[in-house]
Symmetry: C2
Subunit: 204 residues, 2 copies
């Protein structure tokens, strides 16, 4: 199977962390695919009309996206119930924690787009709003972090780790660890996993 | 259970269509919750740190989001396998079709935000890129529409219907039906379903 891939996308990283956790990375043929918000990628458009990565293409040509769908597909290939709990209560908690971290990533990307515009074209109310939501999200994650350190690693943790690492990568000045000791400790454990180390996002 | 709800959100509509299809609408206590990109809602932040709707709050205080997670939770309450196929092949196709329609909605909302800025603050390359992706998405949907008219209604159809209806509501001048006869016919059937009629988005 072929994966439209980039070394910098936190959404691609989610998929590759799942692949490593599930021992499937060797079956994925990574194709480097550049995407920019200002410029759809013609080759990618044929597989995914929204020109978004990650997009998975199976050997029979079937396309699977977005990142969450690909992650669940990989979990299914590995037998199911590994990173996507089968028990409903655990499953919906994991999916909600995934949605929180993934929504944080969506927001960080909008924030970066807005922040990098010329000052006269920025919308200050958006920037303020992003900061409020980031604080609220970090508070929620801090409250759950001690429990998560003892829990089975799941898709919610994959997304949370990727979102915090992206925050370090693109917003290095936020100092998010301050006042969030449990979350910082959780993230250090995440970052030490072989799947996280194998997929780390670094400046080229 | 309580749902942070608004009559205009296409993501809330997805949830309410599922609730009607699954005969669960009577169990949902809708709480009107205003959200703006420029102004997080304080009451909502406590349940969802990203201040996004829909957010579901169970009677024991557990919160469930985003819209896809809530839709799957409702399907689970109704016994499972109704709008989320159990067969893996059908399931991943449905989830990918959901991701396409939901990604289209995400894009239309960004497009509207950008379009409604003062002309000097718009980024033309974004507007052009949105138009290319919309064309590619409509072409893909047109190709699948004849098959979908004969298939079991699922979460991919719910999202597709909501996205096309949102296009009609917020982008009435696109004329998307032109050149997309099968899709227009599919959408007319969608719009006639009791669940779609009960949740139609109209100007107040």
């Amino acid at each position: 199977m072929k994966l439209h891939w980039s070394p910098r996308s936190p959404f691609v990283r989610k998929v590759m962390i799942c692949a490593h956790e599930l021992d499937l990375a060797g079956r994925i043929d990574k194709v480097r695919t550049m995407v920019r918000m200002t410029e759809p990628n013609a080759a990618l458009l044929a597989d995914n009309p929204l020109s978004k990565i990650p997009t998975l293409v199976l050997d029979d040509g079937t396309t699977i996206f977005d990142s969450l769908t690909i992650c669940e597909y990989l979990d299914h290939l590995a037998g199911g119930g590994k990173l996507f709990p089968r028990d409903p209560k655990s499953r919906f908690l994991a999916l909600t924690r995934h949605a929180l971290a993934n929504g944080l990533l969506d927001m960080l990307i909008l924030w970066r787009n807005e922040r990098d515009k010329p000052p006269g074209r920025q919308t200050q109310a958006w920037l303020d709003s992003f900061a409020i939501k980031l604080r609220a999200t970090l508070a929620r994650l801090e409250g759950e972090a001690a429990l998560r350190r003892k829990a089975q690693f799941d898709i919610g943790d994959v997304a949370t780790g990727c979102a915090l690492a992206y925050l370090d990568f693109r917003f290095p000045d936020t100092g998010w660890r301050e006042g969030h000791d449990e979350l910082a400790a959780w993230h250090a454990e995440f970052a030490a996993r072989p799947s996280a180390r194998a997929t780390e996002i670094v400046d080229a």
